[in-house]
């Protein structure tokens, strides 16, 4: 029984939310309560399956699920083998990302039960589940074209969710920016997929990696062009600096839990970027140049994120810019790791940089997500987003302000919370490459502390404002979801060694070791 479940878990993880998403509008007509229970069941079912699959993948290694057949390969009469079937490939890195997405979806759903009220709520949950499907699919697929399809599912449902409340039109402005930019990025992913198909007649990522890495005499111009297109599109979707302009807008205008969910969505694109860089191309591309490029992107993101956050007066846009800076840290760490990969054997600090980067992916979602949840609650209670018109809320919203304080400490990278655990790994590793880099990274963290102390002071501290005198504490479900996130963050902060050894290191090994990925997919041919 459990063995069958584990075997079919990959497709069930995608299929269960997809099915529920489309029967939800029907249930919505019958019973509102039934609808909520059904959504919760779908998300919890996914989360449980993910945890079961997680244990299996850590113990037994990579898992490949082929749709519509025993084996992904089809042998022609001439003896030519090629993996043509659609596959889901789950290694330690994908299951790490899937774990993040499904956990965040669970927390976001609890929050939304309290946050989203009124007409059209059924559609909200349909889109919510579709967004979850897009993310999970991107993180599990073993084939470039399906990556594009899931990327589009993710973009379309996120765009619709950002402008779920129209208000005075600003959310639609953010949405249209988001959808134009994401569909452009997705089209270039498709174009690059076409280029690679024309070059190698393959779409399967493992088989492509095999062809690209076994090529002698360097890559052709077309494969290099495809790499650049994929890199640019996924960096854009991940919200790295020169292409970050859509990110604060959409984070700032989306409803509470969706801002947090969008962070997980950008991490899915980041995962796709890692797959393209480390698994498909690896050392076939000039890793020192690309690593350097990623480092520069990271530094620019950190710089722009922090400086633009300083001057914002809209509380959610401010956190949006802080999110850009956090993505910058991940790019910095990954860039150092990729740079080190070019020297052949991965050195100790290259490994450490990657550990820091991968760990920071999780921490980024948790920290920024918690801050978005708290500000979402503040906006829900006060209907006010301007920092200058808020104040003294700690008197009426005790628990929320406590959770904000936790998020603040974590995002600024102070011990004993999780932000410190991953940032210290990044500082240490990039110090070896250049001390200047780690000075900039630490300075940016200090700025981040200053910015968030400013928000904390102006929103929660000070005398009670007369305009905000009748504010009460946020609803219980909102507090519960914040408490779950804070609990995880404190646990990560107190036992970072345990997390790095058991959660992060398998993911890093799966990321670096593309040989195992290729041989498992090619299956001894």
């Amino acid at each position: 029984m459990i063995e069958t479940l584990v075997t079919h878990a990959p497709i069930l993880i995608i299929a269960a939310p997809l099915l529920v998403a489309f029967i939800l509008p029907l249930i919505d007509k019958v019973s509102k309560k039934g609808r909520n229970i059904l959504v919760l069941c779908a998300v919890v079912f996914t989360l449980v399956l993910v945890i079961i699959l997680y244990q299996d993948v850590i113990e037994n290694g990579m898992r490949i699920y082929t749709l519509g057949g025993e084996n992904a390969h089809v042998a022609l009469p001439s003896g030519y083998h090629v993996p043509v079937r659609i596959t889901l490939v789950i290694d330690a890195l994908s299951i790490f990302m899937v774990l993040i997405s499904s956990l965040i979806s669970f927390v976001g759903l609890l929050y939304s039960f309290a946050h989203v009220k009124g007409e059209g709520t059924g559609k909200f949950y349909t889109l919510f589940l579709l967004m979850l499907v897009g993310m999970l699919g991107m993180e599990m697929t073993g084939d470039l074209f399906n990556l594009f399809v899931f990327l589009e599912i993710l973009s379309i449902s996120s765009a619709a969710l950002i402008s779920f409340y129209i208000r005075k039109g600003q959310p639609i402005e953010a949405s249209i920016k988001f959808i134009i930019i994401s569909s452009l990025a997705a089209l270039f992913v498709l174009f690059a997929t076409g280029l690679l198909y024309g070059e190698y007649n393959l779409l399967n990522m493992g088989a492509l990696a095999n062809e690209i890495n076994s090529q002698t005499g360097g890559l052709t111009l077309l494969s290099q062009l495809a790499f650049i297109l994929l890199l640019a599109s996924f960096a854009l979707k991940a919200g790295s600096a020169p292409m970050h302009m859509w990110l604060p807008d959409s984070y700032g205008e989306a409803p509470g839990a969706i801002s947090m969910f969008l962070v997980a969505g950008t991490q899915a694109s980041l995962y796709a970027l890692l797959r393209v860089c480390f698994t498909i191309y690896n050392t076939a591309i000039d890793a020192s140049i690309i690593g350097g490029l990623l480092i520069i992107l990271g530094l620019v993101s950190i710089f722009i994120g922090v400086t633009m956050a300083l001057i914002q007066i809209d509380i959610k846009r401010l956190i949006g810019y802080a999110a850009v800076a956090e993505v910058g840290y991940i790019f910095l760490a990954v860039g150092v790791g990729f740079f080190e990969l070019a020297q052949g054997e991965l050195s100790a600090y290259g490994l450490k940089a990657l550990q820091g980067g991968i760990f920071h992916i999780f921490n980024d979602v948790l920290d920024i997500g918690l801050l978005f949840l708290v500000t979402g609650a503040v906006i829900y209670m006060t209907k006010e987003t301007n920092l200058n018109k808020l104040g003294g809320l700690a008197r009426s919203m005790k628990y929320s302000s406590f959770f904000f304080l936790i998020g603040l400490v974590a995002v600024a990278g102070l011990p004993p919370l999780n932000g410190f655990a991953s940032k210290i790994l990044i500082y240490e590793a990039i110090y070896k490459v250049s001390p200047l880099l780690s000075i900039i990274a630490i300075l940016a963290s200090i700025f981040m502390l200053a910015i968030f102390v400013k928000i904390f002071y102006s929103v929660f501290m000070g005398p009670k404002l007369s305009s905000l005198s009748d504010i009460s504490e946020a609803p219980k479900l909102m507090l519960a979801s914040m408490a779950i996130l804070s609990g995880i963050m404190i646990f990560f902060g107190l036992f970072p060694g345990y997390i790095v050894d058991n959660l992060v290191t398998p993911a890093v090994n799966a990321l670096v070791d593309n040989f195992t990925y290729i041989t498992t997919i090619m299956g001894g041919i």
């Binding site: 129209i166 039109g169 402005e173 452009l184 089209l187 997929t193 076409g194």
Partner: protein, 119 residues
């Protein structure tokens, strides 16, 4: 040489689409730009799938004297194009409905006049 013509067309179409998105201020025109790029990418995929003297992989429609798999093409690019067209329609519908809602709120389609987010 003549066989490369569709690829030049792809490059020109995508360039026109990018130009429209980058330099036009009207949102409807930007939506058109996205569609033009979509068509360019679809044309690219279809062109990739073309094989001279290839046969469509439908067993019942084969010419009578051919031995079975000989000359049949693997219809992957065509399948990709169909999927991409369907996705393209969904994206276009979403963009157009956003444009309608935006026009209702702002009374303009000029991107330079949409600055409520920046205030």
């Amino acid at each position: 040489m003549i066989y490369n013509l569709p690829f030049y067309a792809v490059i020109i179409i995508i360039a026109i689409g990018l130009y429209v998105i980058a330099f036009k201020r009207n949102l409807i025109k930007i939506a058109m730009g996205i569609t033009i790029i979509q068509s360019g990418v679809n044309l690219f995929l279809i062109t990739l799938g073309y094989r001279k003297d290839g046969l469509a992989p439908i067993y019942t429609h084969l010419p009578s004297q051919t031995s079975i798999p000989e000359g049949m093409v693997l219809p992957v690019p065509q399948a990709l194009t169909l999927t991409s067209i369907v996705i393209g329609v969904a994206v276009l519908a979403l963009i157009l409905s956003f444009i309608m809602a935006l026009y209702r709120e702002y009374g303009t389609l000029d991107t330079y006049k949409m600055r409520r987010l920046k205030e």
